[in-house]
Amino acid sequence: MLSAVILAATIPAAACTASPADTKAVSDTVHAFYEAERTGDSAGWSALTTPDFHMFHEGENLPPGDFVKFIDHAHAIQQQYQAVWTMDVTNFQVSIGCTTALTTLTLHNVEDASVAKTHPVYDETFLESFWLRKVPGASWRIAFWNASKVAKPAPNAEDRK
């Protein structure tokens, strides 16, 4: 019924000192991941993830195949409504272990179709974390992603007019 899974991490203990290059590489991987999502580049996105990648997205446990569909669908909508999609990352923090790293960040995601006037502006903020593994050649791949939408405050009287 329940099967705990341990993925044995794999690097000499003596090599567990994070370098600025690692921190930059982790950051680059996450930003490239977002860019692949924004541009609908499913192949590029897949290249940045591990074969066993999984994710929690707004409380749903999505297998990798479903997320590729999710990206494709989101990009299709963006194209349909001629939306300008911008993603702004702030509060980016990186903690590096031996062969793995955790990042936490805030993502401000805006899909603005106001110019084309085809669709309301989608404007949401997410708190997100990524778990990455280091692969030979000093590159990093994303093994797990968790995204939670930030609740918007209740509209005030002025907003409801």
């Binding site: 991490a9 031996c98 793995t100 939670s148």
Partner: protein
Amino acid sequence: MIRNPGPGGAIPLAASAAMLFFSTAGEAAPTCMASPADASAITEAVRAMYDAAMSLDPVRWRTQLTPDFHIFDEGVRRTGNELIDAFRPLVQHLRSQDNTMTWRFSFDDPRIEVDCGTALATFTTRSVVNLPKLGQHKDATYLDSFWLRKEDGRWRIAFQQTTWAPQEPSLSEKK
């Protein structure tokens, strides 16, 4: 997030059942292997954190967390102290309704990855709060991920992210 921590010793933690080791092909060579003891210790650390949260004892809770702990709690960023402050009214409210209340947790679909002194653990967490005097129980499901560090031989939680699972009603009342 810490919505429904269970009372001490009452949590049916099934996460330490079977463990499967498999290689991460194409990644770094194995020399810092995780052990079954690590997996058990990590799930126990998560359970202990929930126990401590239920106690509303900040000192006890703090011992399960690293000093730099923070949480993404249903889309809200909180420090450890902020989390305790946010959680206390819920527990106190339920206790005021029924001081015989019990809280049970199970941690399903566990995935635990150990990297020498750090670890990732993800669970589908299910909780049941029983309020016998009211003839009610409240259940909830949410997705939890934890990042832990091993400090002084103990696993402590450095980061947690939790989100309600949308397919089930939150704290649904069932008589």
